[in-house]
């Protein structure tokens, strides 16, 4: 199908971009890589009068690390760049795994991690790990810059906490505490290259005694937004990551999930997968934590 008609805007700096957002509020859509947006346009799920690309704005594709501030991933950093970035592979390899698990080679060559987040699909591959790692989004508008924790970023499928005149310009991931491990787990019902039926990001920080000091579990595709497995997190706090404890944590995570049935998987399958994958993610993350 051909795309619907729109006027195309290609601002070359953030101020201009935000001014356009404000001016055409309600009639404008933003694209980065466009791998979600162009598909939505062709299905006529959206019909904006204006389509604004961010691609002409310089400086938005950096990937940088600093021991204090942690990791910054610019809004235009491609999935492919995150997948192979030496910085990410060194400091946050699970983000590379999640990026690699997203879509196909071509889509990763076009799409951005930020697009994956702002698209706010419950099954997005890059969200759970970032949530587990306590990432936040740097939002920019005429009113200035603010940081939004990913925990507060998702309001519903396709809906985020960004205001209509705001752009997301970077993802910030704090440097993990010592003895911290992260894992990303994904399952799909049909193919190795597929949208997740369920995905889980987990972060575990161990204390001196080897017990779980901090646990964060984010579950994808089991609710309208990525969900935290709060009961499981609380249960594990202060406990060793033993098989029995992880199994219980898995059961608690499943209890916190509220999946639906759709063309990709059924509710009951998703529930069970939360249990299985969160155990696997916690086992891997605590294993890494012990080694770190």
């Amino acid at each position: 199908m051909t795309l619907p008609q729109f006027k195309f805007l290609a601002p070359t700096n953030l101020d201009e971009a935000c001014a356009l957002l404000k001016k055409h509020q309600g009639k404008i859509k933003v694209k980065a890589g466009g791998t979600d947006m162009i598909v939505r346009l062709s299905h006529r799920a959206v019909k904006p009068d204006y389509l604004m690309t961010l691609k002409k704005i310089p400086g938005l594709n950096e990937i940088s690390w600093d021991d204090q501030g942690g990791l910054v991933i610019g809004a235009l950093a491609l999935l492919r760049e995150v997948e192979v970035s030496p910085i990410i592979l060194e400091h946050a390899p699970m983000l590379a795994r999640a990026a690699h698990a997203t879509a196909t080679v071509q889509i990763r060559n076009m799409g951005t991690v930020m697009g994956n987040i702002c698209n706010a699909s419950p099954s997005a591959d890059n969200i759970p790990t970032l949530v587990a790692m306590e990432a936040s989004i740097v939002a920019f508008s005429e009113r200035g810059q603010r940081e939004i924790s990913l925990d507060d970023f998702f309001l519903g499928p396709g809906r985020t906490a960004l205001a209509a005149d705001e752009l997301a310009i970077a993802i910030k991931v704090p440097a993990p505490a010592p003895k911290t491990g992260v894992s990303y787990q994904k399952v799909s019902q049909r193919s190795k290259v597929d949208i997740a039926a369920v995905n889980i990001g987990a972060l575990v920080t161990l204390d001196g005694a080897g017990n779980c000091a901090r646990v964060r579990i984010s579950m994808g595709a089991v609710g309208p937004t990525p969900l935290r497995a709060r009961q499981a997190e609380e249960f594990l706090a202060g406990k060793p990551a033993s098989a029995a404890n992880l199994a219980e944590a898995g059961r608690l995570a499943a209890a916190d999930a509220s999946p639906i049935s759709d063309v990709r998987a059924s509710k009951e399958y998703r529930k069970l997968m939360v249990e299985v994958l969160s155990q696997r993610a916690l086992a891997e993350a605590s294993g890494f934590a012990a080694g770190n």
């Binding site: 199908m1 051909t2 008609q5 019902q189 193919s191 290259v193 009951e268 069970l272």
Partner: protein, 762 residues
């Protein structure tokens, strides 16, 4: 082997003759054709599954600038069509809906405009008022009392059963009475998409001489020609159908389709070329598909494993129109009785209308469904009787010379050899016993036809024909209507001709699949008919050429009449005196002179006669799947496929392997990942994001061996290799999954959810 000579070209893994043009992107498919002044067409499809059309208002669409034509059912001749011309009442489709729509996607109107955007916009502007009717979305719903009647204009004995078929031989009641084991199971198998990578497309043009030319992505140019003539009320000879390169068909492109009709109709009306190209969404949401079936199969065994008889009751969920359903209904009954000797057999097959996109022909044509059931039951019986699945098969396997009563005689059969071979290659007996938890190994087998005998299209011509023109520069020109849709018949037919005439592939020009210039007629590419049928025709045409040229050698060397002649390496000579040779070109020159300038042309036809009711020849084979199951997630990974198959002489082993590997892809998809998710007749997964084809990472490596047989009815001993192999994969994988987990699938596809439920994890 007979044909006791060494082949020079046949049996060689030559690259396909069109590989180069495809590798550089220069091969033109229908949508690659642009004609001056060409308009773009678009179809309006029904959004409702079953309704009466109360009114159609096209005025807004017509008023849109750039729109050149809008047509609806009211504008076209009220003529029904369908491939089963032999049974006129089975022809149940209008090119555009008249009065009623019967599935979501039924074509209601068509638009032609200056560009695609305008055509799409115009379609959105057409207003149709529907009076919705209750729908029937499964066999059970369609056969329920008070079910909505989908084709109310026909008298049907049972409403919604468009036709049925019975086969019966032997004394089945006695077989069941004497049986030690009776398996009595109901299976369901699902619909899948052909998913050829090239969406359907055509370009039609009408010239001032009154000729309509259509380039179309088709497997059967002749069907398109005949049915366009019928529905446009034109003469066949005024319609020229040209098959450009075709990006796969698998059965999905073997009928005349509404867009071909609309392109032709509008081109004729406006005198401008018109192109229609479907979107992938249209293909997936409304396209033909493999028949879902409900199969009740009851098999009687003696305790030593001998099959005593079988009752096979099949309900085909045909969707809204017959399409190729009658053939599937017909063949399913035959495949239910294939592979093994069923001394007593009863089949009832019924083709049922439902308000869903019509099912049509798809690679295997009834065999994947019937054999999924038959092979699964063989594995079940083996287990119940404490036998090895291969032993129980060997005990019952068909052999050369076996007869299916009243239906066919098996003229060559490498089935037992295939079974023994896969057992040996996989170390079957050991591995079946000793695998790690989560690992499984399973078997499935197949047989298939090499082209059909039954003339349902009711052609008045031979089934296929070839013309070969010889030139004095030592080359020949082969003309055939056989249609290469990717399977490689252009290459294989050249190989057959090159072998027969002792020429090189590069000495052969080929013109194929253009109804105006290639010989009448060929029924097309389906039913695995081309290699055997067109191959035989090509051989015969070559033999006519040779007869003319041999005379020249005899004359030149004043040879005794008893000499046997050979064509080899571009030369013609007596078999026992290769030194007395003349070149092929020289022989053509001499023959032409001797005939006062008459060109040297050979013709060959083939129509199966005295070959029973089904096919001239059957292929056979066995396949072993190895898989690994994640017992927590239900994820199934197929690790390796081992295949032994009997396709007679492989004319091009590399091409045969390619068919095999492609079949494994389709079979694996059938078993595991491909399915339509439907709700009230609506297809919910209409992109490849959600209609999942296995990708390269999902596909296992594998090995295949060819079992050496010689098919007396095939060219150089060849028979089919294109379709049968799609059948064993699903039962083999299902058996491996059973072996790994204890879950026996009786309703395809095997999803992780079903598997985990079967393992009582959910």
């Amino acid at each position: 082997m007979s044909d006791n000579q060494d082949f020079s070209v046949v049996g060689k893994s030559l690259p396909r003759s069109d590989a180069r043009i495809k590798a550089v992107g220069a091969a033109q498919y229908a949508d690659d054709i642009f004609l001056p002044g060409m308009l773009y067409g678009k179809l309006l499809r029904s959004p409702v599954a079953h309704a009466r059309i109360k009114s159609i208002d096209t005025s807004a669409a017509e008023a849109l600038p750039g729109v050149k034509c809008v047509i609806t059912g009211a504008d076209i001749p009220k003529i029904k069509y369908g491939n089963w011309r032999l049974v006129p009442e089975s022809q149940d489709e209008y090119a555009l809906a008249i009065d009623k729509v019967r599935f979501i996607g039924d074509e209601v109107a068509a638009v032609a405009a200056l560009d695609k955007d305008t055509a799409e916009e115009a379609v959105r502007l057409i207003k149709v008022e529907y009076e919705e009717l209750p729908g029937a979305f499964s066999v059970d719903e369609a056969l329920a009392e008070n079910a909505p009647v989908i084709h109310d204009e026909y008298q049907q004995q049972t409403p919604n059963i468009s036709l049925d078929r019975k086969i019966s031989y032997g004394d089945l009641d006695r077989a069941f009475a004497e049986a030690d084991l009776i398996l009595d199971d109901v299976f369901t198998v699902h619909a899948t998409s052909h998913a050829y990578m090239e969406p359907c497309s055509c370009v039609a043009e009408y010239d001032h001489d009154g000729r309509l030319t259509i380039w179309t992505s088709t497997q059967a140019p002749y069907f398109v020609q005949c049915l366009l003539a019928l529905t446009l009320e034109m003469r066949e000879n005024d319609i020229r159908v040209i098959k450009p390169y075709v990006g796969g068909g698998f059965g999905g492109k073997m009928e005349m389709r509404p867009w071909e009709f609309c392109a032709a109709f509008i081109a004729r009306k406006l005198g401008r070329p018109v192109k229609f190209t479907l979107t992938r969404e249209e293909e997936l949401a409304t396209g033909r598909r493999r028949h879902p079936m409900k199969i009740h199969s009851k098999v009687a065994f003696r305790k030593d494993g001998m099959i005593l008889g079988k009752e096979f009751i099949v309900h085909l969920d045909g969707g809204a129109y017959n399409s190729m359903g009658p053939t599937a209904c017909f063949l399913c009954g035959n495949f239910g009785a294939m592979l093994y000797n069923y001394p007593n057999y009863r089949y009832y097959g019924a083709h049922v209308y439902t308000n869903k996109p019509p099912a049509g022909a798809m690679r295997g044509f009834g065999a994947p469904q019937a054999l999924f059931v038959a092979e699964t039951q063989m594995n079940m019986a083996a287990e119940k009787l404490g036998l090895d699945p291969i032993d129980i098969r060997l005990m019952n396997a068909m052999e050369t010379g076996d007869e299916i009563p009243g239906v066919a005689t098996i003229s060559s059969c490498g089935f037992k050899e295939s079974l023994l071979k896969v057992a040996e290659m996989t170390d079957w007996r050991e591995r079946r016993k000793n695998l790690k938890p989560g690992q499984g190994i399973g078997i499935g087998c197949y047989s298939f036809i090499s082209g059909g005998v039954f003339n349902w299209f009711n052609t008045r011509y031979n089934f296929t024909r070839a013309e070969v023109r010889a030139f004095d520069d030592g080359t020949v020109h082969l003309m055939t209507m056989a249609s290469d849709i990717g399977q490689g018949c252009d290459t294989v037919l050249r190989q057959i001709l090159a072998e027969e005439l002792g020429l090189k592939i590069s000495d052969i020009r080929l013109t194929a699949a253009d109804t105006a210039v290639t010989p009448q007629a060929d029924l097309g590419t389906w039913g695995s008919r081309v290699t055997l049928m067109a191959g035989n025709a090509v051989r015969k045409a070559a033999q006519e050429i040779k007869e003319q040229l041999y005379k020249m050698v005899s004359l030149k060397f004043d040879l005794n009449v008893i000499h046997d002649m050979r064509c080899k390496d571009g030369k013609i000579f007596p078999a026992n005196r290769p030194d007395r040779n003349i070149s092929f070109g020289e022989a053509v020159r001499m023959a032409q002179r001797a005939n006062r300038g008459e060109p040297i042309i050979g013709y060959g036809s083939y129509t199966p006669r005295n070959k029973g009711l089904v096919t001239p020849a059957f292929s056979f084979g066995a396949q072993v799947a190895e898989c690994e199951v994640d017992r927590e997630t239900g994820a199934i990974e197929v690790k390796y496929m081992t295949t032994a198959h009997d396709c007679g002489t492989p004319i091009n082993p590399m091409a045969v392997e390619g068919q095999l590997e492609g079949s494994v892809h389709m079979g694996l998809g059938y078993a595991l990942c491909e399915q339509f998710i439907m709700k009230e007749g609506k297809t919910l997964n209409t992109t490849f994001l959600d209609y999942k084809l296995a990708c390269a990472e999902d596909m296992p490596p594998g090995v295949s061996v060819h079992i050496d047989t010689y098919e007396p009815d095939g060219p150089f001993g060849a028979k089919e290799a294109g379709e049968g192999l799609v059948s064993p994969t699903a039962p083999a994988i299902a058996d491996a999954v059973y072996h790994a987990t204890g879950y026996r699938c009786m309703d395809l596809p095997i999803t992780p959810l079903k598997l985990l439920k079967g393992m009582k994890k959910i």
